[in-house]
Symmetry: C2
Subunit: 264 residues, 2 copies
């Protein structure tokens, strides 16, 4: 048993879909969330800059005595996971591996779609991971850059959102994929609209898959928290009000306190 | 006469709509463009951070021996223009003053709409400037955060774009404004869709208004360049390929060379 908190790191607010899953799958766990909002978005930055930022921000979480860390940012996961793991002894997982593994578990025809931001798709991180685990897999990738601002507007169930989803995904549907990875932590909020367009395609929610993996790891190492009232603390490097406003869309309830800490 | 270049600064690619206007209104002028893509977007950052970034980036332009500077970034204009002017003897203008002045010149009922990013609208910069120049003006502001990603997708004339424009602007139309300031350097690309929704409302293109003011200043100070083949140079602090790709949407032609310089 270990009552220390789980650390969740993201460049912004998207990692809150991971928080929501922690609350669902591991309701007794304390959470320390850090959103590096002073430096978002990570997508367009060089891998050197991203590595420096993630290293500094992971240090912030370690100072808060976390027992494990989820890199809830796809860009951070793609570029820094191995290095961060080497430097730190606690369990650290990203959002790409778990999503790729679930996709390969459920696919029948091994034709897998991946959607994400330009940054994530350009990194090819999911394609590499899928090919590494299953060289026979066909991976069809598609950036959907309008999904994030649609979610952040709170336009979840609107005609215009349906139209944008159709515009992006209909060509993907024609590719005959049977599994689609939602490769961005904002996308689970559009799951219903995406399901409407993609029909019977299996949707992999990477936040859900990641937390399921974290749960297995904590169980295996006997690091789960005892029952109790969990504390969730939220830190950002800039613009706490905006984070709180967007947080409501993700969590479906107010975040009472968002603390601004100095950016590294 | 002065053949030194005009410096154009933006946090990203949007300032290219200002470049396009320089080419149209001042075709003989050399241009040095700097896009601080390593730190975009400026909107959510604190004014302290923005001031530091703009100061450093203006220094880059000064080293390139520019004769005048346009702060083509609304956030930079709102938070730093006065300070940057105090520190430097050359003509420096932002994008907010010229747009506000044009709006007040053309309005008949003094009901003026302003659209922009969340950052620009939250800063209240246009409202303050309009009220300063004309205390009787009524200013109705509206953030339209989906316009930038739509432009960056190149979705200029699409059903979905028309729908988004309608969603944002129809409530504004009902406010009885006769003039609408396009308070973001991306928005001139959506001018036709916006005009379709806004009917007879006069649209103020802030890029166009800004370059017109720069032209008057250079004429007044006898700083216009002699005729010749102008050179346009583009520098960014990160991701030059993405800049070049988006630049095409703005300029309607390839940017041959985008140079990456180290971020301050």
């Amino acid at each position: 048993m270990d009552n220390r908190p789980i650390g969740v790191f993201d460049s912004g607010v998207g990692g809150l879909s991971v928080v929501k899953e922690v609350v669902r799958q591991l309701p007794q766990e304390d959470i320390i969330y850090f959103g590096d909002t002073a430096h978002l978005p990570y997508g367009p930055k060089t891998s050197q800059t991203i590595k420096r930022l993630v290293r500094d921000n992971v240090r912030f979480l370690l100072k808060k005595k976390v027992k494990a860390i989820i890199l809830a940012c796809h860009t951070a996961s793609a570029f820094t996971l191995e290095e961060i793991r080497e430097d730190n002894p606690i369990p650290i997982i990203g959002v790409i591996g778990p999503g790729a593994e679930e996709a390969l578990r459920v696919t029948k025809n091994r034709r897998i779609g991946v959607i994400g931001t330009y940054g994530t798709i350009r990194s090819g991180a999911y394609a590499k991971e899928l090919k590494r685990l299953e060289p026979e897999a066909s991976v069809i990738e598609k950036p959907c850059p309008l999904f994030v601002p649609l979610v952040e507007e709170g336009w979840i169930e609107r005609e215009v959102t349906h139209l944008v989803v159709r515009e992006y995904l209909e060509p993907l549907k024609e590719e005959g994929i049977d599994t689609l990875i939602l490769g961005c932590t904002h996308y689970p909020l559009l799951k219903e609209e995406i399901a409407r367009v993609m029909g019977g395609t299996y949707l992999v929610d990477s936040a859900r898959a990641t937390v399921a993996q974290m749960k297995r790891i904590l169980e295996g190492k006997d690091l789960l928290a005892r029952e109790g009232v969990p504390r969730h603390s939220f830190f950002v490097s800039d613009a706490p009000e905006k984070f709180a406003r967007l947080g409501r869309i993700f969590l479906g309830k107010e975040i009472e306190k968002v603390e601004k800490v100095n950016a590294c």
